[in-house]
């Protein structure tokens, strides 16, 4: 069928192609809101909401109210302010780790997938072994042993982020390599690098985006996990640290109100994770139809 779509302005098409479908899907909308909240929390949050450092033992474990929207912690401090102030670390470290992991995974994956043959098999073997290493216990132990700084944790997390993507990318590139339009490029003598980055590359975008999101939330959980278990005490507002104190030091779970606050904390984490993953799913749905030829 011929010349149907009039060329509307680029911006309008961008809106139609990406923004509208994401907004239309329930997940996309939810995710978008979540991410907006996250960004706000980490950037302007701490300036808007001052950290409550007053110790008011009489207010401890208070339930959510207008004055304290998320209730109070074990020392009567406003939990919302703790959460907002802790968000920077809880978001930033996994973010950096994920970026490093993605870059690493992409390098290995693209190379292995495109070159194929022995190289691919060797690299796949390495990634497979790496994947079977139980990441959390290892990170846990190394975090305990190594100097405790945010950077160390970020690197540790990154170390276990790359293999999954590498393996999947290698498979994806391997299959894309056999497509007709790639064969046409090879026939016309276009360079391998060009084909890899400019022809195959755009097809990998949805893939990488989704992996980024899932890796991010996984790293976030790992980070909170190791802090929760008391291995790497970082910033006291780190959510993991909060949970650590709540559960272990102050035995929050044994107190009715305390349990509520603890589960509230955990729910916040779950909701954020869901939001990020939903957004990535919505984005993926948006990317894929555009790359599928339709007529």
């Amino acid at each position: 069928m011929s010349s149907g779509a009039q060329t509307k302005s680029g911006l309008y098409l961008f809106y139609l192609d990406f923004v509208k479908p994401v907004l239309r899907s329930g997940r996309g909308l939810f995710g978008l809101i979540m991410i907006a909240i996250m960004i706000l929390m980490a950037t302007v949050g701490p300036s808007l909401i001052p950290l409550d450092t007053k110790l008011k033992p009489s207010m401890r474990w208070c339930l959510p109210s207008l004055e304290h929207p998320l209730g109070c912690d074990y020392m009567g401090r406003d939990l919302l302010s703790m959460v907002v102030h802790g968000s920077r670390e809880v978001f930033l470290i996994p973010f950096i780790a994920t970026i490093i992991g993605i870059i690493g995974g992409m390098s290995v994956g693209l190379f292995a997938g495109y070159v194929g043959g022995v190289a691919r098999r060797a690299l796949t073997a390495v990634t497979d072994v790496w994947l079977t290493i139980p990441s959390f216990p290892v990170i846990f132990i190394l975090a305990y042993v190594l100097p405790k700084s945010p950077l160390t944790i970020a690197v540790l997390l990154a170390l276990f982020s790359w293999p999954g993507l590498a393996r999947a990318l290698a498979a994806e590139v391997s299959s894309l390599k056999t497509r007709d339009f790639v064969e046409a490029c090879i026939n016309l003598g276009l360079s391998k690098l060009y084909i890899l980055f400019r022809e195959i590359g755009p097809h990998l975008l949805p893939f990488v985006t989704y992996n980024f999101a899932t890796l991010f939330v996984a790293n976030m959980s790992s980070l909170i996990g190791i802090v929760l278990l008391g291995v790497a005490p970082l910033n006291p507002t780190n959510w993991g640290y909060l949970l650590n104190q709540m559960i272990f030091t102050y035995k929050g779970l044994l107190i009715p109100n305390g349990s509520v606050i603890v589960f509230l904390m955990i729910s916040i984490l779950v909701v954020i994770k869901l939001g990020v993953v939903f957004f990535a799913q919505a984005l993926e749905e948006v990317f894929n139809p555009r790359l599928r030829t339709y007529e």
Partner: protein, 341 residues
């Protein structure tokens, strides 16, 4: 089988499509896939609907079979099906329950690529039993012999084929199994969408023969949808040419080939290279231009941008369906002298 002469308006067609309109909603607007299709399908005959990609032929069938995707909207028209029991059903207005009652037992549909829709984990025999059971037609005493004779009709050896799985059969054989499965329910109306497209020349030839045999034996009404012009020349009694979602010419196949009335029909037939060309000293002539966009169809007669006979009137208003000769309908201003439908 010669054409029976219709006697006035008393003869009622098996399927009567009147002014069907349907469009797909897409992000750029709406695709007018079916824009005013009026077509009478006679009982006991093979009618072919011929059109190129974008002509709307599959959309048309999906419209009156009510198997449209979610973004489709039926905008008007009726599709009257006259059952052998005397009952008349407007398929467009029929609800899903009625449609389900009709599908299979009254209306058989073999979509494009049907040979790939066989269940890979069931044998041919199991396919038949399941199909008959689902429609409540399984009779332990007689069904097996019916299956045997049906398979023989489609030129498959029952003893060899019944126990086989789909992957053990060739494309042509699978296609015949699908036809047999459809026919075992003895539907009054059978619709086949591109039945020969994926087949090699010999399998295609055999399939045409089989369809002819089936038609002769069961005297059911068949609608054949295809873009392959030569195929319809032999098999179809009547031919309807579809262009940009509307019928531009209908009539007896032989007469249309002998003397196509609509410029598109004439150009389409001349544009197809054939092995016969050398024998009859014919040189194919291309049709200029491109098929129109159904998103923004041209105004007036949709063929006018490519038509060598186009005049001002063709650019502004769409012609009605004229009947310049008995049983021959053309949607073209050139024939405005004749009777209007």
């Amino acid at each position: 089988m010669s054409d029976e002469v219709r006697t006035g308006k008393n003869f009622k067609p098996k399927l009567e499509l009147r002014n069907l309109r349907m469009e797909y909603l897409v992000r750029e607007g709406s695709i007018k896939a079916v824009s005013g299709v009026t077509l009478f399908v006679d009982e006991g005959k093979i009618t072919a609907i011929v059109g190129e990609s974008g002509s709307g032929k599959t959309s048309l069938v999906e419209t009156f079979l009510k198997i449209l995707p979610r973004n489709a909207r039926i905008r008007g028209g009726e599709a009257l099906l006259r059952l052998s029991s005397g009952e008349e059903v407007d398929l467009i207005k029929a609800d899903e329950r009625t449609m389900r009652r009709l599908r299979g037992k009254v209306i058989g549909y073999i979509p494009q690529g049907a040979q790939n829709s066989l269940n890979p984990v069931l044998t041919v025999e199991q396919h038949f039993i399941e199909t008959l059971r689902n429609h409540g037609l399984w009779k332990p005493e007689s069904s097996m012999s019916e299956i045997h004779s049906m398979l023989s009709l489609v030129r498959l050896d029952p003893d060899t084929v019944l126990k086989k799985y789909p992957f053990e059969l060739s494309g042509g054989m699978k296609q015949r199994v699908v036809i047999a499965l459809t026919m075992i329910l003895k539907p009054e109306l059978v619709i086949l969408d591109e039945p020969t497209s994926a087949l090699d020349v010999f399998s295609q030839r055999v399939l045409l023969n089989i369809l002819n045999d089936v038609s002769m034996k069961y005297r059911n009404t068949m609608i054949l949808i295809t873009h392959d012009i030569p195929v319809v020349a032999e098999l179809a009694d009547r031919l309807a040419v579809l262009y940009a979602g509307t019928v531009v010419e209908v009539g007896n196949t032989y007469e249309i080939f002998k003397e196509p009335l609509h410029p598109y029909t004439s150009m389409l037939i001349s544009a197809i290279p054939s092995v016969a060309d050398i024998y009859v000293k014919r040189i194919p002539k291309p049709v200029p231009g491109e098929p129109p966009s159904l998103l923004n169809p041209p105004p007036g007669c949709k063929f006018h941008p490519r038509c060598p006979y186009a005049v001002e009137k063709c650019r502004t208003s769409e012609p009605p369906l004229y009947e310049p000769k008995k049983e021959r309908f053309v949607k073209c201003w050139l024939y405005s002298g004749g009777e209007k439908l």
